[in-house]
Amino acid sequence: MMSSLDSYFQTQETAMKLRGYRQEVLSSNIANGDTPQYKARDFDFSTAFKSALSASQVNAGTLAATDARHLQPQGTTDLFAPQLQYRSEVQPSIDGNTVDMNTEMRDFADNTLRYEASITFMQNRMSTMRTALTSASS
C-alpha cells in the first residue's frame, strides 16, 4: 500500500520539486538583471519532468557529500537539478548581460502559476485519499 500511495503522489511531487528548482533558476536570472557578463540560464521543463518520472523507479540521485573525497555512485545524476542551458539572447546589451527582463518575468509568473496548480492537484489527491480512509471508519 505504501508504495502505491507513493506513486499516487509521485507525479505532482516530481512536478513541484522541478518547479521549485526552476523558480530558483529564474530568480537568479532576475537578481542578476544588472550584472555585467551574466548569462541567463534555464532548463526545459518537459524533458526534465519526463526523465525524472521515468527514472525515479530506479533510485537515481546524488548522495549528500560533506567532503570532496566522498564517492558518488556511478552514472547517476540529480534528476531534480537538471542541466542548465544558456538562453539565446534576444537583445544583446553592451555589458554582455543576456537577461531579458520581459522573458524572465513571463517565465517566472508562468512557473508560479504552474507550481500553484501542482499544489492544488496535490491537495485534491490528498483529500481524495483522506475521504477513502475516513469513510470506512464511520
Partner: protein
C-alpha cells in the same frame, strides 16, 4: 528545498541594489562639493556587480565586487572669487553627472522592487506548500 534559496538570491540582489542606491545618494549629495577631506574635488562613485553562487543547487546571487571612482576629469567652473579657484579663476567641481545618477537611481529602485516581488512570490508558494498538510 530550492524555494528557500530564492530568498537568499533575492536578498543578495536587494542588498546590492540598495548599495547602488547608496552611492547614488552620496554622489547626488556631493554633486557640488568642490573640496573633500583630501583637498581634491569629490569623485563620483560607482558599484561593480558580480554574480556569486548561492546555495548548493546552482543558484546565482549578486554581490558588490568593488566600489570604483569615476576617473573622468573634474568639471571646471569659472568662479574667480572662490578661495579654491586656480590661477585662471577656475574651480574644479565634482565629475558627478546628475542625469546619469537619476537614471541609475530609477534603475536601482525598479530592480529592488522586482526582487522584492520575487521574494514575496516565493513566500506565498512556500506558505501554500506548508498548508498542504492541513488540507
Amino acid at each position: 528545498m530550492s524555494l528557500f534559496s530564492t530568498f537568499d538570491i533575492s536578498a543578495s540582489a536587494m542588498q546590492a541594489q540598495s548599495m547602488r542606491l547608496n552611492t547614488v545618494a552620496s554622489n547626488l549629495a556631493n554633486a557640488e562639493s568642490a573640496t573633500s577631506s583630501n583637498g581634491q574635488p569629490y569623485r563620483a562613485k560607482q558599484v561593480v556587480f558580480q554574480a556569486t553562487p548561492i546555495g548548493p543547487a546552482g543558484g546565482v546571487g549578486v554581490k558588490v565586487a568593488q566600489v570604483v571612482e569615476d576617473q573622468t576629469p573634474p568639471r571646471l567652473m569659472y568662479d574667480p572669487h572662490n578661495p579654491v579657484a586656480d590661477a585662471n579663476g577656475y574651480v574644479a567641481m565634482p565629475n558627478v553627472n546628475v542625469v546619469e545618477e537619476m537614471t541609475n537611481m530609477l534603475s536601482a529602485s525598479r530592480s529592488y522592487q522586482t526582487n522584492a516581488d520575487v521574494m514575496n512570490t516565493a513566500k506565498t508558494l512556500l506558505q501554500r506548500t506548508l498548508q498542504l498538510a492541513t488540507a
